[in-house]
């Protein structure tokens, strides 16, 4: 079946960061390290899959004019669930006093509700496809987003702290600008350029 293609579309063609250009705020704000990027990507995937499924389930009975507010409430509910779960189970500080994953992601967890990816997929896909197709779509786009966040996070962590997922390669600090604001913009700009080029080359092949 075509499910393999559907499941991998999130990596290049429909990747939120370098294909759809959505969800840019958390992409910049949570990629100071590979782990933070991965955590954010998985949290967003959780919300995306559940909201896609529920919206696809109820799309027929929601009157057209209130569909956006209705979708937003559903999404907000799942975001709150993720927030509660994370503040309970990912709230342990690191061995050296590093902030917990929940504290590192901070305000970006509730901000998942305004992440254009989630509402965008609901509007563009979930409300006009079957529940199962919407589930697959949510998983695919979500994993693609998690992939781009982890990739950007790894690049920034490697360059900025000389480590990956907390395992250090060098003593002391790296090129610190990459774990700060300007580095996020610069790294993302170059990453988009490279991946768009890659996408174009692969679609010609």
């Amino acid at each position: 079946m075509n499910y393999l293609k559907d499941l991998t579309k999130g990596f290049l063609k429909d990747n939120p960061t370098w294909g759809l250009f959505l969800g840019l705020c958390p992409t910049l704000g949570t990629t100071g390290s590979a782990l933070n990027g991965l955590g954010m990507g998985l949290a967003t995937t959780f919300v995306l899959v559940l909201s896609n499924v529920f919206i696809s389930l109820f799309a027929r009975v929601i009157p057209d004019k209130v569909r956006i507010p209705a979708y937003i409430v559903i999404i907000a509910a799942f975001v709150t669930v993720v927030d509660l779960l994370m503040s309970a189970y990912t709230n342990t500080p690191g061995p050296n006093g590093e902030p917990s994953l929940y504290d590192s992601l901070g305000i970006f967890i509730p901000l998942i509700v305004v992440n254009c990816i989630v509402l965008g997929r609901a509007e563009a896909f979930a409300n006009r496809n079957t529940v199962f197709a919407s589930l697959i779509d949510g998983v695919a786009i979500g994993i693609g987003f998690a992939f781009s966040l982890t990739l950007l996070g790894s690049v920034r962590e490697l360059l900025g702290s000389g480590s990956i997922f907390g395992m250090k390669f060098i003593d002391g600090d790296g090129i610190l600008v990459f774990v700060m604001a300007p580095g996020a913009f610069l790294a993302l700009g170059y990453l988009i350029m490279i991946m768009v080029k890659l996408r174009k080359r692969l679609s010609k092949a």
Binding site: L22, P26, A76, I107, P110, V113, V114, F185, G189
Partner: protein
């Protein structure tokens, strides 16, 4: 005065766009032209201040007393969605030309992470109503500043010869990165 510090911090030191990464989508989408940017900045200012006031009041008089703070995300975004709807209706009547110019970006203010972000930050920082209003207004100014500066640069860039792979988003992000570096220079003011 406390308020001066809040203002300088929000506009320059912790600029909502260049330091906190909020408000990126409209930044990338609207900043091709300076006049739409000004209109967008105005609309965002209006919604941001009103949203902060509304969410503060709701938090203080309904969410806190009833101990249902876990509904914060749901309630805040509903308030913002309702506000944007109202602004749309008013704008259509009062200034149809601006309404047309803003187009799709007006309803998109609802999903502007800067608005929800500032509302939540006001709560996190424990501001009272007056401080919250000043904070929201200052952040809106910071957003407008970033937007208009960005648009100005992008307009100039149209006339330049940008390498093909960089055109559009990549070069926009590089510019944003350099601007963020410039804004870091403000860190010493307060």
């Amino acid at each position: 005065m406390e308020y001066i510090i809040i203002i300088i911090s929000a506009v320059f030191v912790n600029n909502i766009v260049f330091a906190q990464f909020l408000g990126m989508c409209p930044l990338m989408g609207v900043s091709n032209k300076t006049d739409t940017s000004v209109g967008m900045a105005g609309a965002v200012t209006f919604v941001m201040v009103l949203a902060t006031i509304a969410t503060y009041l709701f938090q203080k008089y309904i969410l806190d007393p009833l101990d249902i703070s876990f509904l914060q995300t749901v309630i805040y975004i509903l308030i913002i969605a309702a506000l944007v709807q109202i602004v749309e209706i008013i704008l259509k009547k009062v200034s149809p030309s601006l309404y047309q110019a803003l187009g799709i970006f007006l309803p998109l203010i609802t999903t502007n992470c800067a608005i929800l972000g500032v509302a939540i930050l006001t709560f996190n920082k424990g501001f009272n109503l007056a401080e919250g209003v000043v904070y929201a207004f200052a952040n809106a100014i910071g957003f407008g500043l970033a937007l208009i500066l960005f648009a100005g640069i992008r307009e100039q860039l149209e006339l330049q010869d940008v390498p093909k792979g960089m055109r559009g988003l990549p070069i926009a992000f590089i510019i944003a990165g350099i601007m963020a570096m410039a804004f870091m220079g403000f860190a010493n003011i307060i």
